[in-house]
Amino acid sequence: MSTIRSSRRPAATTRRTLAAGTILAALALAALGAIGLTACGSSTSSSASPSASTAAGGPITVTDSAGNTVTLQQPAKRIVSLAPANTEIAYAVGAGSKMVAGTTYDDYPAAAKSLPKAGDFSNPSVEKIASFNPDLVLITGGVQAPLRAKLTKLGMNVYIIDPTTYAGVMTDIANVGKLAGTSAEAQKVVDSMKQAQADVQAKVGAAAKKSVFVEIYSKPLMTAGTGTFVSDMVGKAGGTNLGDSAGAGFPNFSSEVLLKDDPAVYIADSGSMSKPGDLSTRPGFSALTAVKDGHVYVIQDDLIARPGPRLALGLQQLAKMIHPEAYTTP
């Protein structure tokens, strides 16, 4: 954090403004990741094949989000998770009883809150992780990617959960189930996610696409661009994501362009806005069609930004927001 301090030291300002800006931007990325938006800037192959040999008793081999092969000789018994999303997946696939440590920010399910902590999201301590003697460590990409080498050097098995699409999340859930020896339960989670997607497709698949703006943060205005599952899910829910025009990851978005493009539906994540009425108090926003027609919604950020089983709920909510007419009973 000394970089922030130095950006205001008189002698350093000239020389270091740029450097400080860069580091601050990196910090901002880290902060993005900390609430679960882990898709930014990572080079992941979302279509990691669920290749696994599940012969009873034999070694288990899967491929993680980053394309690494992970092999366990037997199902994991001691799991450490380094991201709230990973913790959520572990519990969802029925491996909650095998969790030995989580992160400071784990909040779902409630049982995860009382787990011992291996650290916070952006500064996990290798020593602390090792002290739990895990046989599987679930990390994420982005800021945590360099951690993999350190942990594997110590002989730990590391699986990177860093999907960028709805399908990629299902793949990771299935793989974690295999590694934990709870494939059957993982399959149930995946099936329900597939069912949710099929339901949404049946409701809105034939409807004309509507332009949608998703607000991730308000000051400065920030959206979700290409290569994020927000964008992927908006597409599946019958919308075209305006944020895609601003590039990949989570770019800032010009409010002038927002007004010019005038989306039909405006969806804000709950971390950014607590009630839709806030929007009309922003400069110029009262002229937006979505505001005038009342198509402004707030969605809980975990449901669209955290790669886990609850994305199914998020997808259904998005579809209802984008195509309310498809959900009104005839």
């Binding site: 922030i4 950006s7 008189p10 740029l18 609430i35 916070d120 601003a246 800032n252 607590s274 002229a287």
Partner: protein, 332 residues
């Protein structure tokens, strides 16, 4: 300012004013939805029309943003001139007094609290900045005098303390880290007429120093010499310090911490018009407004619909200009 009969200051001022005018027109015309000059005239004369998108882009988003960038640029440049000359130190910028760090702490508290209703972040930033000014001031006052060097040290110390507290709040309120980081980087994105109103409060504080240009010229020779020449050093110093502090606090509270402008604009202007404050102050005011106006124009148009942090642009625009002028100045 008409009481001067020596070398004329008007050519410099006219040039800077022309530069600012060009910057204003360009900034108002260019954007994702660019306007022709006749459209610009149409929008200006028709005034705000509720419910019309193009009109809202112009009156509710672009206009306040352009005005805010120019006002903040002027405020930081004037504060920079005052503080560089009071501290007799070329590396001084408006942020050495600790005011910006105090404002940052106030803003961070505002962000972490999540209060609604009023623009709490801006208001607490202003309170934090002014409170820091008060603390630093009290620390530097000895037997009725303000010791400039104690003030500088106290400012830097408070700066570190406030930054440490910001860091603690950042780690505690992890979900707000992004908001805090973006605030610290400084931006005009999403600012409207409310912020412009706050920035306008600073206008009298930009004008007051223009009446003390003679005293400021003399004080460049040191406080003792100024006393000998009949300048009321303490009174002038206090007035200028408060002025610079208030200007900085207001500027930082509306847009966060934007570096480089307050440091470099006074230097650039000195190289062009010389050190006499009759020219230096008004030209810096106008040039600061123009530089930050241009920087914000580039920040919002270069990679639209994405935006480049304006502090990065000020540095990219200002640094080459500064180096060029330094080299030219050395040859002359």
């Amino acid at each position: 300012m008409t009481r001067l009969g020596r070398t004329s200051v008007w050519p410099g001022i006219a040039l800077a004013a022309a530069l600012l005018l060009v910057c204003l027109v360009l900034s108002l015309v260019l954007g994702p939805a660019s306007l022709s000059l006749s459209q610009l005239w149409h929008f200006v004369t028709s005034g705000p029309v509720p419910g019309n998108l193009e009109n809202a882009i112009f009156w509710q988003i672009r206009m306040p943003r352009v005005l805010l960038a120019c006002l903040v640029g002027a405020e930081l440049a004037v504060a920079g001139v005052i503080l560089q000359d009071l501290f007799l130190n070329p590396l001084t910028d408006p942020y050495v007094t600790g005011v910006s760090s105090g404002a940052a702490l106030g803003a961070t508290i505002g962000i972490v609290l999540h209060w609604s209703g009023l623009p709490w972040t801006t208001m607490l930033a202003l309170v934090g900045g002014l409170a820091t000014l008060g603390i630093v001031w009290t620390a530097a006052r000895r037997r009725g005098r303000i010791d400039i060097f104690v003030l500088l040290l106290a400012g830097v110390t408070i700066s570190y303390l406030a930054s440490a507290m910001v860091t603690v709040l950042m780690i505690q309120g992890n979900q707000d880290m992004r908001a805090i980081v973006y605030w610290l980087m400084g931006s005009f994105s999403g600012r409207g007429w409310g912020e412009v109103q706050i920035a306008l409060v600073a206008v009298p504080f930009m004008i007051v120093p223009l009446f003390f240009t003679r005293e400021m010229d003399i004080m460049l020779q040191g406080e003792k010499r100024a006393l000998e020449l009949g300048v009321e050093v303490e009174r002038t110093k206090r007035l200028l310090l408060v002025t610079a502090g208030v200007l900085t606090a207001i500027a930082v509270s509306v847009c966060g911490i934007i570096g480089f402008v307050g440091l470099v604009v006074p230097h650039i202007v000195r190289l062009v018009v010389g050190p006499s404050h009759r020219s230096l102050l008004p030209v810096s005011l106008l040039a600061g407004a123009a530089l930050l106006g241009i920087a914000d124009l580039l920040s919002r148009t270069l990679i639209a619909p994405n935006e480049i942090p304006v502090g990065v642009v000020t540095t990219f625009v200002g640094a080459p200009l500064f180096v060029y002028l330094l080299r030219r100045g050395r040859r002359a």
